[in-house]
């Protein structure tokens, strides 16, 4: 567990200093842990666990947009689990339950628990369609077609800077829409 935490912290430090590959690896590594915790939280609240993927995506977006609040001298896991816990409580509350979520739910979770059973997420996808066309095009190109920023810029005759701006705005407005629910 300590080894895992140290690896996460070092990946996040690399990510902050500009290493996108390290960031990608980190998010891939934390997703199954978040998924397991979300399923456990839903199960305990008597909610169908197939909604866990929406919670995972909600947490990942928050992690992304709030990562400037992480102190690079502090371990990453407590920061991550505080965000995850907050989002899980939020999600359960929205589904009409007041549930106490123990922070240890996350720390105890083994990364390789139920990674295989990934239910489809629907909330982020639903809000995607409501985005301005340009932001949706850019997100579609990068997310679904796995295009790079450069290729996306060429495809839509935009500058790479404009693609970056549209990408970031798209992610921010997705998060804002998720919060409005």
């Amino acid at each position: 567990m300590r080894e895992r935490d140290e690896e996460w912290t070092s990946l996040m430090r690399s990510a902050i200093s500009g290493d996108s590959a390290a960031y990608h690896r980190l998010l891939k590594a934390v997703a199954p842990v978040l998924r397991a915790a979300a399923r456990r939280g839903l199960a305990r609240a008597g909610q169908p666990v197939d909604q866990s993927e929406d919670i995972v995506q909600d947490i990942l977006l928050a992690v992304h947009l709030k990562r400037h609040t992480w102190d690079a001298n502090a371990p990453f896991a407590p920061w991550l689990f505080a965000i995850a816990r907050n989002k899980l409580i939020d999600a359960l509350r929205r589904r009409g339950r007041r549930v106490f979520v123990n922070i240890d739910d996350f720390a105890e979770t083994l990364p390789d628990q139920p990674a295989a059973e990934t239910a489809p997420a629907s909330e982020v996808a639903a809000h995607l369609n409501a985005l301005p066309a340009r932001q949706r095009d850019v997100l579609q190109s990068i997310a679904v077609e796995s295009a790079s920023i450069k290729d996306t810029a060429a495809k839509y005759s935009m500058s790479e800077g404009a693609v970056r701006v549209a990408l970031h705005r798209g992610l921010s407005s997705l998060t804002a829409k998720l919060r409005e629910r």
């Binding site: 998010l27 891939k28 995506q57 928050a62 400037h68 997420a121 982020v124 990408l167 992610l171």
Partner: protein
């Protein structure tokens, strides 16, 4: 259009180059933008007291600024701390002992000196109504600014963070008000400034629980 988690992760990684400003900077900029509004309210309605040059030689006049600035600084430090999701008040709450301690020391000091006016007269003062109106009103623009700053962070205790934002703005507004008010007794400050600050804190907590969720 669908977006599974792997696709979302790829998209987030593509956005890694985006750098957000630190919360402290956003808070500072927001407060700087709001300060002229509070200053305008202050100079339009109140203004600095006319005998300020002589008042400055009165240690009880000066103490008011020490107390209000200590409150504002403590609240800024605590609010920045609480803008991190994993933070709790533990280890930081004692910062508020500083303004409270200064005020208590001032009350003690005043008790030991011979006074022209009886205690209750000093406590009630002659400006309590203005004090309780002016501090909350001048706080409002600064409270909005503090909330804007903290919204940029990730406070997982939005009501508490909002309350602290209230203390930031109340501390700053009280600093302005202190230069107008002719009641310098620490008893007056401990009573009316505290009530005014508590009011702003309550408004901050209420607003925070709504706008500081992320």
């Amino acid at each position: 259009m669908r977006m599974d988690t792997d696709q979302l992760i790829r998209t987030l990684a593509a956005d890694n180059s985006h750098r957000a400003r630190p919360v402290g900077l956003v808070l500072a900029l927001a407060l700087l933008a709001a300060a002229p509004v509070s200053l305008l309210m202050f100079f339009a309605e109140l203004g600095v007291r006319p005998d300020v040059m002589t008042a400055m030689h009165n240690p009880f006049f000066d103490l008011k600024f020490a107390v209000t600035l200590a409150l504002a600084s403590a609240a800024v430090i605590v609010s920045l701390h609480l803008s991190r999701p994993e933070a709790s008040l533990r280890g930081f709450g004692w910062l508020f002992v500083i303004p409270a301690g200064l005020l208590a020391a001032g009350i003690g000091g005043e008790m030991m000196l011979p006074q022209r006016l009886p205690m209750m007269t000093r406590l009630v003062g002659s400006n309590s109504k203005v004090c309780m109106t002016a501090i909350p009103l001048m706080s409002l623009p600064l409270l909005i600014a503090s909330l804007v700053g903290l919204r940029h962070g990730a406070p997982t205790r939005p009501a508490i963070a909002g309350a602290i934002a209230g203390l930031v703005s109340a501390g700053l507004a009280a600093t302005l008000y202190a230069s107008h008010c002719t009641d310098d007794s620490p008893l007056f400050v401990a009573t009316w400034y505290t009530i005014a600050a508590a009011l702003v804190t309550a408004v901050g907590a209420l607003a925070g629980s709504r706008v500081l969720r992320f």
